[in-house]
Symmetry: C2
Subunit: 454 residues, 2 copies
Amino acid sequence: MRHPARAAMSPPRQLHLNLNFMNAGSYSSAWRRPESEAADFIDPAFLVRQAQIAERGTFDAVFLADNPALPDRPDLRPYQALEPTVVLAAMAAATTHIGLIATLSTTYNEPYNVARRFASLDHVSGGRSGWNIVTTAETGTARNFGLDEVLPHDQRYARAVEFADVVTALWDSWEPDALVGDKESGRFIDGSRIHPIDHRGRYFSVQGALNVPPSPQGRPVIVQAGGSSDGQDLAARHADLVFSVAHSLDEARSFADGLRARLLRAGRAPAEVVICPGLVTILGSTEAEAKRRERELWESVPIDYGLARLARTLNVDPGRLKLDEPLPADIPFPENHSQTFFKGTVTLAQRNGLTVRDLVKAQGGGGTQHRLAVGTPEQVADGIEAWFRSGAVDGFNIMPDVTASGLKVFVEEVVPLLRRRGIFREAYSGRTLRDHLGLPPPSVRHRRPAAATA
Amino acid sequence: MRHPARAAMSPPRQLHLNLNFMNAGSYSSAWRRPESEAADFIDPAFLVRQAQIAERGTFDAVFLADNPALPDRPDLRPYQALEPTVVLAAMAAATTHIGLIATLSTTYNEPYNVARRFASLDHVSGGRSGWNIVTTAETGTARNFGLDEVLPHDQRYARAVEFADVVTALWDSWEPDALVGDKESGRFIDGSRIHPIDHRGRYFSVQGALNVPPSPQGRPVIVQAGGSSDGQDLAARHADLVFSVAHSLDEARSFADGLRARLLRAGRAPAEVVICPGLVTILGSTEAEAKRRERELWESVPIDYGLARLARTLNVDPGRLKLDEPLPADIPFPENHSQTFFKGTVTLAQRNGLTVRDLVKAQGGGGTQHRLAVGTPEQVADGIEAWFRSGAVDGFNIMPDVTASGLKVFVEEVVPLLRRRGIFREAYSGRTLRDHLGLPPPSVRHRRPAAATA
């Protein structure tokens, strides 16, 4: 929701839509549909085409999740295989407006490299890049990077905060007009307008400055998705856009209230952050058709997969989950795993009195921890509009059940309804992701001193 | 040079040409020419267009050097600013055949990330990616990554060898047919055909497997450019393509002989490695015009820049270099800097009795440590052909003096001559960089066991 003072001066508040592009789709059996090809998840033509379809739908951005490790069960479905900045750079060359957000872990990268990668993507895309900060909680990933176990939650987040501090300082290390390019005098850059950051912290020592001139956005957009207390503090300090999990409007409202309170405590205006929960869409021309589609998808889910994913989310042995019983009552809170997905999953089951089987179904056959919207384009648009108008969310991360068919239907059938209702853009009004998100320009630490402007 | 037994069965030996794409050009004053724009080095349209021009010239590859730090004198000329895999991914989307080689440091990255990045670029480009292994000797870079000083030469190379061992093992961690994609049975991947690498070494512990399915090339091409003894050992173990420095045919021959001897000791055939030195081209319709172009470029070099770069290459204080005197006789061998460029520079000065000023001019105003070829297209083609036919080199990394004009002239004027002489392709005969380079398919560690083929 926009800050009231701001909203009063601005055009009507507009919805934000991102494509959370989950390979074959967010339903775990999506790859088995006739319209899907097994190799879609690594096929550049397929990947780029989806970005173009989302751009036709004037989405704010394409978002790519990431984890630098094989998933638990690669035998049963596709996953996010390709390194996301490489994919987004290829998409950048084949699109003109849509934002491009990649997930990169603060635990398994160096801040100088990450600052540079997103600044470079911002140049290559003409100002459309965004970085989703994650701390990566999987043991298998730790073992690809010299660790036997995952770092404790608090250490991961302490490192993430310092990491993002360094990255943003590097983005700010050039004054905007440092690149002079005066052929006559031979002065290419005014070196006095580039500032080493000389960071020496607990996790990182980085001299700087960045070797990339200021990118079109100044600062690429920062996205944060973790709902733990540490995660929300990180968001309050650094995020422009927050990806949340909400299975009910109450949850969405409570999350937004909490985050906005933290923003205020961090000295930021709530309007500076766009909040979007995930929304898995299963569309049909009629409600019955949508339900049939869901049933078909559900029927081709290997139940082993759904159980394994649920057990992973809950951090329990799959043997403890009985398909036709409710969740065990005594599952311990997973201090060092994804707290957001744990809480969302347990709440979803308890509120609705779901058996394990129902729960796996409600999670797209283990494909997602986000809310499912099953229905006609009108019904889905109604839900989107209602949540948006409530002020609890600024938009959604759309997660088509099956990428190869669901994205196109959303763009062709749902987007026009949202446009007709006056809550979603007819065309892009700006060129950068910051423009699409309606974000204020980032504050830049190094301004040209007043004396130098004379 | 191709192995004789191989050459007898193959079509006539063919020249290889790569574009070593140095921002505005390899002459340090290139950016001041009327045809250059100051922002070319960060302009995606400019960057992509050069790849397209090189592809029109049926070059084997575009090569991007890299150093994750600001250079010493950003005030005086452009440099390699953008992260190269991001740039190459954008080029991949706008080209169809040309190879795409990026430099990434083994000192400031993690092998899992690097293996994944190049495998991803290989997918995105349809089999055109290559990784140039460097160990990065600059102090300023060390200070962007938590170190006060550069690691010693032997440690950098020991780490680089283990790093490349891990990367190639990760590329080999899937059997080629592990991706099953059987919608009927629901089996997406045959997990028994993916193998953790379980690497535990001096520098890295990496469990694996890679999370990227085998890319079109199986293994992206590996490039190595360091001419030190450690560098050549690394090349003998891992390289498919070696970028060398040679100011004379004697130097080129001696380098090739040394490298081929190491290859044999490493159990590899000399034909498995393509050797290309750098060649800076300054072209004119007449010899006088080419010389005038060189003179104009030289006249707009700030001499401070040339001296600073030379002092850096020699690892001496710039104050020790007197413009109209020869190099000081007592410059110590720089154990921990680029030995290749040091040796090439000292040899160039001594063989030709150059003053410091002459030497800076012979190095493109401090823009390059590679050989300059100044002349008409015929003269430059003659030189290329003579070196190629001698067997001392397999081709060249072409470094236009001024990118914005020199690349196009090379493609339009020199390439047709080389084609007419029957030593360079009229069109690409394959689709991958390995195809262009005439490399054998990489050996893959994990083959399907004989029993499983039944």
